[in-house]
């Protein structure tokens, strides 16, 4: 491994650490944890995760069929999904601000503490 290789690896490590810290701290707000479900560029549901509420599920329809999102106090997960690989389900519960569950095949996105003024759509 040459010096240039090590510099390159260092840059990639630094970039990933910076983006990870940036995403986590940018979305952190004291005592606030909210969730938002989107189907593609449409927002489907917003909910508060910091309150102790009874567990519930929300059904969201995407191009492949219906995905079920489960919400409990302080956490949210993809309970079931019609996609082939189930990456979204294997992500498990997310309970930190600035986290996301994405189901690419069924175009469903679950985010915690989404910033309302953040860029949420791709400009064509």
């Amino acid at each position: 491994m040459t010096k240039a290789d090590k510099v390159l690896i260092g840059i990639i490590l630094a970039l990933s650490l910076l983006t990870w810290l940036g995403l986590t701290y940018w979305h952190r707000e004291a005592g606030k944890l909210t969730g938002e479900i989107s189907a593609g560029d449409r927002s489907i549901a917003q909910f508060n995760l910091s309150q102790t509420a009874a567990p519930r599920t929300i059904k969201v329809t995407g191009p492949l069929g219906t995905s079920v999102v489960e919400i409990r106090a302080g956490a949210v997960r993809m309970k079931s999904s019609p996609c082939p690989d189930h990456f979204c389900m294997h992500t498990g519960w997310i309970s930190q601000p600035g986290r996301v569950i994405v189901c690419v095949p069924n175009r469903i996105i679950i985010e915690t503490n989404r910033k309302p003024d953040s860029v949420d759509a791709i400009a064509y």
Binding site: K3, I12, L13, G40, D85, R99, V102, V104, I122
Partner: protein
């Protein structure tokens, strides 16, 4: 090199890349992130860049992605589009770095390991960009940190495997034969 020999070598490389591409999909990875994989087929892309040039390497990569998609039944679905955009991004960046590094003085050059890592990172970024376009949502870029980190072990592994392969090809005189 005679066109027929070049054609035959391209066909062999495409076949090898397809096998690696399909073999890799059989290996389960413990990370539930869409698109994180070893990138074994990238070995062939980088080998093609060493033997031939950018155009030929791109041809081999695109053929591998399309034929691999056809054989695994994922042709023209989301996984296919993510795969092809990642593969084209990786081939392009690796070709740029390879021609760039040959102009630098020997002490500050990239080795194949570094180029392979850069290719893995470009592959992951290309995939994420395509996924963001397909789902029309930028939230996929939350995966950026983990995709960048995962490109380090996978890129180093494929780079190491290619270095071993090149050592063998050099020692047996086959590399000179390919490049003549």
């Amino acid at each position: 090199m005679l066109p027929t020999r070049k054609l035959t070598l391209i066909a062999v490389l495409v076949a090898q890349a397809i096998v690696l591409h399909l073999f890799e999909s059989l290996i389960p990875l413990p990370i539930p992130i869409p698109g994180v994989k070893l990138g074994l087929a990238n070995i062939v892309t980088l080998l093609a860049l060493v033997i031939f040039d950018f155009k030929t390497a791109l041809l081999i990569t695109v053929l591998r992605t399309v034929l691999g998609g056809l054989l695994s039944g994922t042709l023209f679905n989301i996984a296919f589009f993510m795969s092809i955009s990642g593969a084209v991004a990786a081939t392009t960046l690796m070709a740029i770095l390879m021609s760039l590094t040959s102009t630098l003085n020997p002490s500050s050059r990239f080795s194949l390991l570094g180029i392979s890592v850069a290719g893995a990172a470009a592959h992951n970024l290309g995939q994420l960009a395509m996924a963001a376009l397909l789902i029309k949502h930028s939230a996929i870029f939350y995966y950026l940190p983990i995709m960048l980190v995962s490109s380090l072990p996978t890129g180093l592994l494929t780079g190491l495997l290619l270095s071993k392969l090149l050592e063998y090809l050099r020692a047996s005189g086959q590399l000179d034969e390919f490049m003549s």
